[in-house]
């Protein structure tokens, strides 16, 4: 990553790691970077109705040098690929990438010679967000998952070593950071429900079940 990589080995940085991650996640500055229709939804998320300002990131930076989050919003054509890469290279580390929409994630319905089949062919992606285009709630959900992932990121070579040691011992959280849907994570009861479901390996069934409970014509079965 950045300057923290230059720190001498031997200094334990857990508290500094938490502080730096907290500072990072609390105000992502996204690069103004729209490629297609997904950008419209991205703009809507920044507007007053969805208001990304609630997480300190309503401002999309016009210069990649002042941004630390890249939202690849739209299909990446072969001609645009070098530009995307250059903007990514210009962003200061630590940086993160959200691939918004199916076209950016895998090429989507444009399975042809003109479109890059997934933006992860040119830049590393942290969160893939499906949808065509994803509604602003889906983007906010992806950003909240990204924040959770940033909070769990190790700092420096020692931090990475400690994380590897924890993983080798199996001391990892039951629900991986960034795996729980945001509407479940913010509600204490539903969070417990989800954690329990992950233990049993049926979290997707839980989602269908909870949705079915809200449907008038299916409610009879649950009584």
């Amino acid at each position: 990553m950045g300057i923290e990589e230059k720190l001498p080995a031997g200094i334990l940085l857990t508290s500094v790691e938490k502080l730096s991650n907290y500072a990072r996640k609390s105000s992502f500055w996204g690069a103004t970077f729209g490629l297609a229709c997904c950008a419209i939804e991205m703009m809507a998320s920044g507007g007053p109705h969805y208001d990304l300002g609630r997480w300190g990131m309503e401002v999309f930076r016009a210069s990649p040098r002042q941004a630390d989050l890249m939202i690849v919003a739209g299909r990446v054509s072969q001609k645009m690929a070098p530009v995307v890469r250059q903007i990514y290279d210009q962003m200061p580390e630590p940086r993160s990438v959200i691939s918004m929409g199916v076209c950016a994630s895998s090429g989507g319905m444009f399975n042809n010679y003109a479109i890059v089949q997934g933006v992860d062919h040119i830049i590393p992606v942290d969160v893939y967000l499906p949808g065509c285009p994803p509604r602003p709630e889906m983007l906010i959900d992806a950003i909240l998952k990204m924040r959770e992932k940033v909070m769990a990121q190790p700092l420096g070579p020692n931090g990475r070593k400690m994380l590897e040691a924890r993983q080798a011992e199996g001391r990892t959280p039951i629900v991986a950071p960034g795996a729980m849907p945001s509407s479940y994570r913010v509600d204490k009861v539903r969070r417990e429900e989800w954690t329990q479901a992950v233990k049993e390996g049926r979290e997707e069934q839980l989602r269908i079940e909870n949705w079915m409970k809200l449907q008038p014509h299916l409610r009879e079965a649950h009584k």
């Binding site: 007053p48 109705h49 969805y50 208001d51 609630r54 199916v102 994630s105 895998s106 090429g107 989507g108 319905m109 399975n111 997934g118 992860d120 942290d126 969160v127 893939y128 967000l129 499906p130 949808g131 065509c132 994803p134 509604r135 709630e137 889906m138 906010i140 959900d141 992806a142 909240l144 998952k145 992932k149 960034g178 795996a179 849907p181 945001s182 509407s183 994570r185 913010v186 509600d187 049926r202 997707e204 069934q205 839980l206 989602r207 269908i208 079940e209 949705w211 079915m212 809200l214 449907q215 008038p216 014509h217 299916l218 409610r219 009879e220 079965a221 649950h222």
Partner: protein
């Protein structure tokens, strides 16, 4: 003097907004209710006895404009029965990194096996996790349902499942003919 009061008039407009109703949605804390027919993630439905409705005909895969669906059919036998008819879906995958939620697959489905829910929080951190298999897609077993494989419990042949379906539609999402009591439809 006029410029002095004029600037306060301007701030007055800003200040008046403090007393207006906030239009911001409170998304993760109170998720909005999408329209009833909102195209969310898919569900593979079950018959009332727990057998799968999917017959592995691949019409959804053919209808898909993004080639997001992969189906591989298998033959039902009397010992290993997953769906009422001759065939069932041995492998069923929907790639959410390709799916554009157009709903053509659910229009193509002849048994109303594939339907859509309103769930949309689908972001993942790997492309592999975005490929949903039968494990993720199949509807949960409701009371009275049994985990397949098991023999047909609702009738002798598969005809009983489809001919009598209007009076016994099951409780799955595709059972849109199930009686709705008055005043329940929100």
């Amino acid at each position: 003097m006029g410029t002095f009061t004029g600037s306060f008039k301007g701030f007055g407009v800003t200040f008046a907004h403090m007393f207006r109703k906030v239009i911001t949605t409170d998304y993760p804390f109170s998720p909005p209710k999408p329209a009833p027919r909102y195209h969310g993630r898919h569900i593979l439905n079950r018959h009332p006895d727990g057998l799968e409705k999917c017959i592995g005909c691949e019409l959804c895969a053919w209808a898909c404009p993004a080639d997001a669906i992969y189906v591989e059919g298998g033959d039902n036998t009397d010992e290993q029965r997953f769906s009422p008819g001759e065939r069932y879906a041995k492998i069923y995958q929907i790639n959410y990194a390709r799916c554009i939620f157009c709903g053509l697959c659910i229009e193509a489905c002849p048994t109303r096996s594939l339907t859509m829910s309103n769930e949309y929080e689908l972001a993942r951190d790997s492309r592999q996790d975005l490929i949903f298999t039968k494990k993720e897609l199949l509807a949960p077993l409701l009371p009275g349902m049994e985990q397949p494989p098991h023999p047909m419990l609702l009738g002798e042949t598969d005809k009983d499942y489809y001919v009598g379906a209007l009076t016994n539609p099951g409780t799955s999402v595709g059972a849109e003919r199930a009686p709705i009591s008055q005043g329940d439809a929100e």
